[in-house]
Symmetry: C2
Subunit: 497 residues, 2 copies
C-alpha cells in the first residue's frame, strides 16, 4: 500500500487504483456524520440527546451481524432468552461494586403521574444498563444441582445508560443495541474455558467483518463493576480514539454470592457458581465497519452484510437502448435469486450519477453493461474497494461474483489490519507517548506491572490505559516507561470512545 498526496489530500494507491481517504482521517467527525446520513445508516436529529434513529441500511447490517453472532452462540450451547427491561432498585443494589459503577448513569422508570394522581405504590424500577441484576435472581431459581450447569444464555436487546458527556451517533449513545451472554459454571476452570470460547466467538464475527482490533485485558482499575477481570476488544478508529466493540468479563463468584446461586456439587457439598458475562455492541461494530472500511465517498460494506450486494447499471448508447436494457434485465435475473441485487434502470439519471449514488451507499460491487457487453455476452465488474474494473463472461457470472466477494472481503480485512499496524507505535518515553497520542496513535509502552505506574499514565500521556494483550504473551524487554524498573509486559495507551 502506498500513500501520496494530491493537493494536500491523503490518497492511497493500491493495485494501481486510487481511493481518496483524507477526509476520513483528517476530519473524521464531519466525514462520519455525513456518511451516516447519505448512506442512510442513521439519522441523528431525534429530539432526545443520545437517542438516534437507525435507518434501513444501518439496521440491515446490525440484523445480519446479529444473526451470525446468535448462530455462533447457539452452536456453542447458549439458549436464546429474553429478560425484562426493568430491574427493581433492590436487586440492582445487591452487588456493591456493581451499583457503585452504574448508579450514576441509570434511568429510573415508573408510572407517569397524571395531575391529581397519587404517588404510585409500586417499588421504583430502573431500565437495564446491563442485565446481571435482572437475570441472576432467576438463575438462583433455576440452578440447584450440578446437572443444571453449565447454564448459558444470550439475548439481543438494548441497554440504557444516562450518558452525561457529549454523545456521538453509534459510538456513545444512551440506547445501546447489543447482545449480552451470561453463563454459570460448576468450576473456575470451566469458567476460564468459557472465557476463551467467548473470545473466539467474538473474534470470528469481527474477523468475518474484516474489523481489525486488539484484545486487551483491562487494568484492574478499569474492569467491569463486579468482575474479577475484564477483557475487551478495541477496534482502531481513523481519529485515533479506539472503539471498544465487545467485552468479556469473568465475574468469579461475586454475583452468585449475593444472589445466592448455589448448587449441589457432583462430589457432594454446596458451592457458588462461577459466572461470566460478555457483551457485543451492535452499534459500535457497525461504526467500526463504516469507519475502518469506508473512504471519502462513503462506506464500503463487506458483501455478506451489505444491504445491496451488487448493483447493475446499464449504459445505453443511442439507438441501442432496448438491447442494453434487455441484457441488463437478463443479468439481473441471473443474480437476484442468489444475491441482494438491484437493477438501476432509472431513465432520468446518467450512468455516472448512478455510479456515484451507489458508491456513496457502500454497495461493494457494480456490474456495468453496454452495447459491447451485449455483443460479447460479457459484463464489466467494478469493485468498490479498489476501483478496479474487469470484464468477465456472462456464463458463470454467479460463481465469479462469489469469488470477487471473497476477494473484497479479504482486501478490506487486510487493509484494515495494515492500518492498525500503522496506528500502533512503540514509545520509549512519556513525552514521546503524549506526542504520539496527539497524532492519533495507539502507544505500546513497557510496564513494570504495578497499578500505580499504569494509573499515572493517563495523566502524563493524556490518554486511556487500555490494558495488556490477551492471548499473546508480550514479555517486557525494556524498563518501565514510568518508574524505570524492569518491564514485565506492555501496556496499550490511547484515546478512546
Amino acid at each position: 500500500m502506498v500513500y501520496f498526496y494530491i493537493m494536500g489530500l491523503r490518497c492511497i494507491l493500491e493495485g494501481g487504483f486510487i481511493a481518496r481517504e483524507s477526509e476520513k482521517f483528517e476530519q473524521f467527525s464531519e466525514w462520519f456524520d455525513r456518511v451516516l446520513f447519505t448512506a442512510r445508516i442513521a439519522d441523528n436529529r431525534y429530539p432526545v440527546k443520545g437517542f438516534i434513529v437507525y435507518l434501513e441500511n444501518g439496521w440491515f447490517v446490525i440484523e445480519r451481524v446479529r444473526r451470525r453472532l446468535e448462530e455462533l452462540l447457539e452452536e456453542d450451547g447458549h439458549f436464546p432468552m429474553y429478560f425484562p427491561i426493568v430491574a427493581t432498585v433492590e436487586n440492582f443494589s445487591r452487588e456493591a461494586e456493581h451499583i457503585k459503577g452504574f448508579m450514576g448513569e441509570v434511568f429510573a422508570v415508573g408510572k407517569l403521574r397524571l395531575e391529581g394522581e397519587e404517588a404510585p405504590q409500586e417499588a421504583p424500577l430502573i431500565l437495564r444498563p446491563t442485565s446481571e441484576t435482572i437475570m441472576y435472581p432467576m438463575f438462583a431459581l433455576w440452578i440447584s444441582n450440578h446437572s443444571d450447569l453449565p447454564l448459558k444464555t444470550h439475548q439481543s436487546c438494548a441497554v440504557y445508560r444516562y450518558e452525561t458527556k457529549a454523545t456521538r451517533a453509534l459510538y456513545r449513545v444512551r440506547e445501546i443495541p447489543w447482545n449480552e451472554a451470561h453463563t454459570a459454571h460448576a468450576s473456575m476452570e470451566e469458567a476460564e474455558e468459557q472465557v476463551r470460547k467467548a473470545v473466539e466467538i467474538y473474534s470470528k464475527v469481527l474477523d468475518e467483518l474484516g474489523i481489525a482490533y486488539l484484545i486487551l485485558r483491562r487494568p484492574d482499575f478499569d474492569k467491569f463493576a463486579g468482575a474479577d477481570y475484564s477483557i475487551a476488544f478495541d477496534a482502531w478508529n481513523p481519529d485515533g480514539k479506539v472503539n471498544q466493540v465487545a467485552t468479556v468479563h469473568n465475574l468469579g463468584t461475586n454475583f452468585s454470592r449475593v444472589f445466592g446461586i448455589e448448587f449441589e456439587r457432583r462430589e457432594g457439598g454446596k458451592a457458588y457458581v462461577w459466572q461470566l458475562c460478555y457483551g457485543f455492541g451492535y452499534s459500535r461494530v457497525l461504526a467500526a465497519v463504516i469507519a475502518q472500511h469506508g473512504d471519502d465517498l462513503g462506506p464500503i460494506f463487506p458483501p455478506w452484510v451489505a444491504p445491496i450486494q451488487v448493483v447493475i447499471v446499464p449504459i445505453p448508447y443511442k439507438g441501442r437502448e432496448v438491447e442494453v436494457h434487455r441484457y441488463a434485465g437478463e443479468v439481473y435475473s441471473l443474480l437476484k435469486g442468489r444475491y441482494r441485487a438491484r437493477l438501476d434502470d432509472r431513465p432520468d439519471a446518467t450512468p455516472g450519477e448512478k455510479y456515484y449514488f451507489w458508491e456513496r451507499r457502500g454497495v461493494p460491487l457494480r456490474v456495468e453493461v453496454g452495447p459491447r457487453e451485449v455483443e460479447k455476452r460479457t459484463v464489466v465488474l467494478a469493485r468498490r474497494d479498489t476501483g478496479e474494473k474487469f470484464t468477465v463472461p456472462l456464463e458463470g457470472l454467479e460463481g465469479e461474483v462469489n469469488r470477487v466477494f471473497g476477494e473484497i472481503t479479504r482486501t478490506l480485512a487486510e487493509r484494515s489490519k495494515n492500518r492498525l499496524s500503522e496506528q500502533l507505535v512503540d514509545v520509549g518515553s512519556l513525552e514521546e507517548g503524549a506526542r504520539s497520542v496527539e497524532l492519533g496513535k495507539i502507544c505500546r509502552v513497557s510496564w513494570c506491572g504495578s497499578d500505580e505506574c499504569a494509573l499515572s499514565l493517563k495523566g502524563s500521556m493524556g490518554a486511556e490505559v487500555r490494558g495488556y494483550r490477551y492471548g499473546v504473551e508480550e514479555r517486557g524487554e525494556r524498563p518501565c516507561i514510568v518508574c524505570g524498573r524492569p518491564g514485565k509486559t506492555y501496556l496499550y495507551v490511547s484515546r478512546a470512545y
Copy 2:
C-alpha cells in the same frame, strides 16, 4: 372429529386416536401456566408485575415468527428501521385523541436521582406505548415530495404499557414484544390498498401457524386512539376470551396534520400524507399457538417454528443395545443437517419417560427405533398431533419427514378452524347471548348499524363488542338484536383478553 368423555374429561377422537383436552378447556389458566413452565416457554416469577422471562422455547418460536413476518414485510417494500424507545412528552401529547387513549397507561422515564442530586434539567420522557409520536416527527423531516412516497417501515421491538388490571403471561403484560409497521401514502386510495396488503401479510403468517381467527372491523368507539378506523385479528381461545393478536389502523391524515407531514403533489400543490400503522403481537401470537394447538400434555408446535422438530428415541432391547444405538445415531446423522433434530440417548431414562418428556415440550414428531427397525432398516414415526404411529423405510426418510410435517401443519390448522366454528354461535336474543358468553362462546348478533345499539350490548351481554367482519360481507337478514329495526350486518360479541 368426535368428542366423548372418559371419567368426566373431554377427549377427542380423531383418525382413531385419542388426545385428552379437558384440562385445556375446563381449567385454562392452570393448564396454561403449567405448560409455559414445563415446556420452557416462559417463567412468570419475575419480581415485577407484568414483566416475564421468555425461556428458550418461547423465545425461539417468537424469533422464527419474527423472521417470517419481517421477510414478508420487506418483500412488500417495508424498510427495517429502529426508532428510539423514548418519546418527549411534548411530541406524545400532540395528537389529542392519541394522548387521551394512552396517557393513563404510560411509563415515565428519567435519570435516577441520587441523594442530594438536583432535579434533572432535561424534559420528561415516556417509554413508547406505541411509536407514532416517535416516528412521525422524523417522517416530517424525510417527506417533502411525492417521490418520497410511499414510505413504508417496520421495527420489531417491545412497547410498554402500565397495565393496572390483573396481568397474565403472554396475554396481558406490561412489556409487549411486537412488530409495528408504519406507512405514509400520497392518496387515500393507496392507503386503503395498503390496508388490504397489511391484512394479507398478517393473515399469511397466522395461517402458516395454523391459528384460526376472525378479522373484524372494530366499532368506532373502540378504534385505536387517533385512527379513522381499526381492523383487528381475534384468535379464539379455549376459555372463550378472544385473543387480539394483530391490528391494522387507518390513520387518515389525523397524525400528518399535527406532525406537519406534507408533500408536494405530482399534480402540484401541497397535501398531508395518508398514514397507516399496524402491529403484530409476538407474545399473543405465541399464546395462540400454544392455546389453540396444545392438548392436556402440553404444546404442539407447528414444525416450522418448533425449537426441536424431531426427536429420535432408541428402544434398546437387552443384548441388542449396541446395534440399536448405532442405528439411532445413523438416523440422527441423516436428519440433523436438514431438521432441528435431537437424539435422546440418555441412559438413565426409559423410552416411555422420553416420550412423555418430549411430548410435554411440543416436539411435533418422534422417531422410534428398536431391534425390529434395525433389522428391516425402517423407523417408526409417531405424530404428536394425532398420536398416530407408522413404519417407514430409512431410505428416503428426509422426504417422508417433510411430508409428515406438511400433514401435521395442515391437521393443526384444520382442527383449529373447526374449533373456532364450534365456538361461534348465532344468537337471537340478549338473554341467549348472555348465556352463550357465559359458556365461552363468540356470539354473532344481528345489528342495525347504530353506535347506541352496539354500545348497549356490552352491558346486556356481559362481553366486548369485537366488531363486524372485514373482507367478508355479511348482510343482515334478521332484526337488530337490540332495537328490532332491520339488521344491516352482524356484530361479533365475546369476552376478550
